[in-house]
């Protein structure tokens, strides 16, 4: 029980200290998990992180589940994840509650119109960063363009693209055309 509480608190701390998730989280995870509690080695942590990136879902949550599971089994995995999401729930609910009351103030509207422009640029930068790892040859370029254009012009569920592209990746690799 004490162990579970420790897990919850450790991941709540990681949640509070992480801005934006992703790579920013690694040094904080290392401090909490490797140095402070010794729940995993640095190498294991990197393994979890790598697999967390290529499994569905939020990377931070996947990594938390891995470590929680290692420390205290299935319950540990659940508790670590709950710890990770707890700060978000509290902070976002507070902010959302406050913002709803001010949403019609003209200055707030102007501020958010400015912020929206910034969001474009931030997402665009994220796309460029991911692009380097993802689009490595002609086939991946075709897949990228196909998914992009089809989802811009047609109302197709992202699930369709995800399933199709995973299957395409397997079939094309099997046929030996990967890398051309």
């Amino acid at each position: 029980m004490k162990q579970l509480w420790k897990l919850f608190l450790a991941f709540a701390r990681v949640g509070v200290m992480t801005f934006g998730g992703g790579y920013a989280m690694i040094p904080i995870l290392e401090r909490e998990i490797v140095d402070r509690h010794g729940w995993a080695t640095e190498e294991e942590l990197m393994d979890y992180y790598a697999v967390g990136q290529c499994t569905p879902g939020v990377i931070a949550v996947n990594t938390a589940t891995f470590i929680g599971y290692k420390v205290a089994g299935t319950v540990g995995g659940v508790v670590a994840t709950l710890g990770m999401i707890f700060p978000s729930l509290v902070i976002i609910t507070l902010i959302a509650g406050i913002l709803t009351n001010f949403a019609d103030v003209p200055a707030v509207k102007s501020a958010f119109a400015g912020i929206r422009v910034c969001v474009c640029v931030l997402i665009f930068n994220a796309v460029l960063k991911l692009w380097k790892k993802a689009v490595v040859d002609k086939i991946t370029l075709v897949l990228f363009l196909g998914v992009f254009l089809l989802s811009v012009f047609f109302d197709i569920s992202p699930i369709v693209f995800v399933v199709f592209c995973a299957a395409a990746g397997i079939v094309l690799t099997r046929m030996g055309v990967k890398g051309k």
Binding site: V16, M17, F19, G21, G22, D47, A50, Q53, T55, P56, G57, V58, I59, A60, V61, F66, Y69, K70, T74, G77, T81, M84, I85, P87, S88, I91, T93, L99, S110, G114, I115, R116, V117, C118, V119, V121, L122, I123, F124, N125, A126, V127, L130, W131, A134, T140, F144, G146, V147, V152, P158, I159, V162, V163, C165, A166, A167, G169, I170, T173
Partner: protein, 191 residues
């Protein structure tokens, strides 16, 4: 009933969004289009808040969307929906971590999944650009091409792009800095 639907929608997002927090974005647009729970415009604001607050961005967005849709219970249910598939999948994989990492099918699947994920996020980016930099409604009303462009916004986007990509001293700064600066510009120049 709406809580059940929220859980289901976010469960699907958690199950199929591969490649981290940003990958949930296309799913949030998809949910908005199909259910009308929130507008595309509102979603852009929620992304900004999620980027500027602690916590993983995917979790933050789920909490925010859930709250907008059904209050505090909605926030909890949407977030739990998002993480439930993760918990199930990771616990399955954790038993055979090495086999999973070295499985040729997994590697081959990701060869196709990575460009797909980027394509979906790029399409979501296109939707935000349409809202933030263009005025499709003003253009539709007047029919004049000049009304289509939101020049102030386009100028700000250009400046931000240069700052985040080319200026060495600013490149590494946290996104919150740019978000706050944009908010100030928005207020001062009456966006």
């Amino acid at each position: 009933m709406i809580l059940l639907r929220l859980f289901y929608e976010f469960f699907k997002a958690g199950l199929f969004a591969v490649g981290g927090g940003m990958a949930t974005l296309p799913f949030l647009y998809d949910i908005s289009t199909r259910t009308g729970w929130y507008t595309h415009e509102k979603l852009a604001d929620m992304i900004a808040v999620s980027e500027s607050t602690p916590g993983p961005i995917g979790v933050n967005m789920a909490t925010y969307v859930g709250f907008e849709t059904a209050g505090i219970p909605g926030a909890v249910v949407a977030t739990l929906g998002l993480v439930t598939p993760s918990i199930m999948i990771i616990i399955l994989i954790a038993r055979a971590l090495k086999a999973f990492r070295e499985n040729p099918y997994v590697e081959a699947g990701f060869y196709g999944l990575r460009p797909c994920s980027v394509g979906l996020i790029a399409a979501a980016c296109f939707l935000v650009v349409k809202i933030a930099l263009f005025r499709t409604d003003a253009y539709a009303a007047s029919g004049r091409l000049i009304d289509l462009f939101n020049f102030k916004a386009i100028a700000l986007a250009a400046v931000l792009l240069v700052c985040t990509r080319c200026v060495k001293k600013l490149k590494g700064l946290h996104p919150i800095v740019f978000i706050l600066a944009s908010a100030v510009v928005g207020v001062v120049f009456c966006f």
